[in-house]
C-alpha cells in the first residue's frame, strides 16, 4: 500500500506539542509537487493560525486535497529562517535534534517526494534525485552492471564513497542529498561529487538555481542553501561520466567507519595508439579530499602536476607530495593532523593506481 504522494509536516512548539498534518492527494491526472504542498501548508498555518488540523483516513493514494492560491509557504518558512529543516532520511538530522544542536520549529519530510527520487540518464548527464537513499543508489548500480553505458550507471568514485558511508542501516535510510546538505567535512560523497564536476539544482519558490558542487560548501555543516531552499537533484555532466574515477577513505577501524580522511580522483586519458594505457597522457584530472579542511577541498596544485602529462612514478610521487602540502588538516577527536597528512599520500597512491590501472596495488 504505497501512497503516491504524502506530505507530512511536524510542527513543534517548545513546551507543548501541536501536530499539524496536511495530506494531499492526486488530482485526477496530476501529481502535487512538493511546492504545492508547501503552499497548502502555508495556507493552513497562515490563515488559520496554529490550529491542529488533521486529514481524514488515508485510503490507498487518494487523500483529501486542499489547493490554495499562490503564496509561498516556503517564504513563510523562510521568514522563520533556520527554524525550518527539510527531513529526508534523518540519519544526521534526528541526532542533531536529539542532542539539542538544532531546534527547528518546522520539519518538512520530503523523503517520499517522487520528483526528488529519480535517477535518470539524459543528454546532459546523470541526474540523481536528492532523496534517493544511499542504498538505492548502490542498488541501481548493481542493477545497471553489465548494461550499456547509456543506462544510469554511476561513476565508480561515487559508488565507492556511497558504500563507505556508515552501515547498511544508515545507507538504507540516509540519502545522497542528506549527505551533501549535512556538509560534514568527512561526508563520503562530497569529494566524489566534486571531482565528477557535479552541479546541484536548488529549488525554492523564487525559482531554481544551479550551483557547482565545488561552490556549494561554505564550512563545516554550512552550505549556500538559503532558508526554504531544497537540494532537488545532482547532475553529473556527460563529460565526466566517461573517464575513470576512484575513491578511498580510512578510519579508526574497518567497519562502520567515519572518515578520518578521504580522497577522490577522476581522470580522462588521451587517445592511445598502442597497447597499454601507461603511456598515454592524462587529458584531464580532478582531485578532491575530505576531512582535510573545513570544506571538501579541490587539490588543484596536484592536478596541475598531472594534467596533460604521461604519468610516471616520479610525477606521481610529486603529485602525492603536492596533495600532502595542499591539504589543511587539523587534529581532532578522530585523529591527528600528522596522520591525516601522512596517510593521504598513501590513499592518493592507491586511488591513482586504480584509475591508472597500474600493476600491484
Amino acid at each position: 500500500m504505497k501512497l503516491c504522494f504524502e506530505f507530512l509536516t511536524l510542527f513543534r512548539q517548545r513546551f507543548g506539542r501541536e501536530s499539524l498534518c496536511v495530506q494531499l492527494a492526486d488530482r485526477p491526472g496530476e501529481r502535487p509537487t512538493v511546492l504545492e504542498a508547501l503552499e497548502a501548508l502555508e495556507n493552513s498555518i497562515g490563515s488559520k493560525g496554529l490550529r491542529l488540523q488533521e486529514a481524514g483516513q488515508v485510503a490507498g493514494g487518494l487523500l483529501v486535497f486542499r489547493r490554495t492560491p499562490a503564496g509561498a509557504l516556503v517564504q513563510a518558512a523562510g521568514a522563520a529562517g533556520e527554524r525550518v529543516k527539510f527531513l529526508a532520511g534523518g540519519t544526521d538530522l534526528t541526532v542533531q535534534i536529539a542532542e539539542g544542536a538544532l531546534d527547528p520549529t518546522l520539519l518538512i519530510d520530503i523523503s517520499a517526494a517522487e520528483e526528488l527520487r529519480r535517477l535518470e540518464r539524459g543528454a546532459e548527464g546523470l541526474r540523481i534525485g536528492a532523496a534517493l537513499t544511499i542504498a538505492e543508489l548502490l542498488e541501481s548500480a548493481r542493477a545497471a552492471a553489465g548494461k550499456p553505458a547509456e543506462s544510469a550507471s554511476i561513476p565508480r568514485c561515487l559508488l565507492q564513497g556511497a558504500a563507505a558511508i556508515g552501515s547498511p542501516q544508515i545507507r538504507h535510510l540516509g540519502t545522497i542529498g542528506g549527505n551533501v546538505c549535512n556538509a560534514s567535512p568527512c561526508g563520503d560523497t562530497l569529494a566524489p561529487l566534486i571531482v565528477l564536476a557535479a552541479s546541484f539544482t536548488l529549488r525554492s519558490p523564487r525559482g531554481s538555481r544551479v550551483v557547482p558542487a565545488e561552490e556549494f560548501f561554505l564550512g563545516p555543516k554550512a552550505t549556500v542553501l538559503e532558508p526554504g531552499e531544497i537540494l532537488e537533484s545532482i547532475l553529473i555532466p556527460v563529460s565526466h561520466l566517461s573517464g575513470r574515477s576512484a575513491f578511498r577513505m580510512i578510519g579508526k577501524r574497518n567497519g562502520q567507519v567515519i572518515s578520518q580522511v578521504n580522497i577522490a580522483v577522476w581522470l580522462k586519458r588521451g587517445r592511445s595508439e598502442g597497447a597499454g594505457t601507461i603511456s598515454t597522457p592524462i587529458e584531464d584530472i580532478r582531485i578532491a579530499a575530505g576531512s582535510v579542511a573545513p570544506i571538501p577541498l579541490r587539490l588543484k596544485r596536484a592536478e596541475e602536476l598531472l594534467r596533460s602529462v604521461i604519468p610516471d612514478p616520479p610525477l606521481l610521487q610529486a603529485a602525492a607530495g603536492a596533495v600532502q602540502e595542499e591539504i589543511q588538516p587539523i587534529s581532532d577527536v578522530r585523529t591527528s593532523q600528522a596522520y591525516r597528512r601522512s596517510v593521504i599520500a598513501s590513499l592518493f597512491t592507491d586511488v591513482i593506481g586504480e584509475v591508472l590501472e597500474r600493476e600491484g596495488r
Partner: protein, 205 residues
Amino acid sequence: MLLEFELNGKQTRVEAEPTLRALDLLRDVLGLTGTKEGCGRGECGACTILLDGMPVNSCLLYAAKLQGRRVTTIEGLTAEDGTEDGAEDGTEDGAADGGGDHACQGDCPPLHPLQEAFLAEGAVQCGFCTPGMILSAKSLLDRNPDPDVGEIEEALSGNLCRCTGYGKIIKAVQRAAGDGIKAAREPGPGSGAGKSGRRQRGATR
C-alpha cells in the same frame, strides 16, 4: 496522528506523536520490547528493524515515517512453516524434544532458522545485540541466500557485539544460509504432515 502500517505481517493502527522515535513507538506504545536501545545515535545497531525488508536504525526514525510501510521486528520472525504459534504437534519426531540438548527455560516457540543457528553455534551470549543482528542477517539472506563471508560481514557491519567476538555469529549466518539452501533443494513440499523445513533443535558439538 494516526499511523497505519504493516507490523510483523499484521495491519496495525496506532495513535502516536509523529516525532516519537519508531524505537519508542515499538517499545513503549506497542509493548514490543525485543528491539533494544544501545546508543540512540544509529551507531550500534541494537535498534535495527526491517523497513520494507531493509535494515534501518529505529532510533533514527520518526514514527511518522512508518506510515504505509512494512515493518518487521524480532517478534515477527516465524518458523519456516509460517506459523507463529507453533506447529500442530509439538515435535518433529518422537525423540527430538525429550532427548535433545536444546533446553528451554520457557515455552519454546518454533524458531526461524537464523534463531536456531544462533543458538546452535553459540552466537548468543548476553543477547542484547541479538535481535538487531538477526534481523540484519535475515535481510541479507532474504536477498542473497548464499552469501560469502565478505557479504555477511558487510551486512552485519552496522551491528556491534561486545560479548562474542563475532566469529560464531558469522558461523551462525552461514549455517542458516546452508540450511536454507538445503531446504530449498529438498524435493517435494515436505515429507509427512507438512514439516519440511523444520529444523532439528539444538546441537552438540
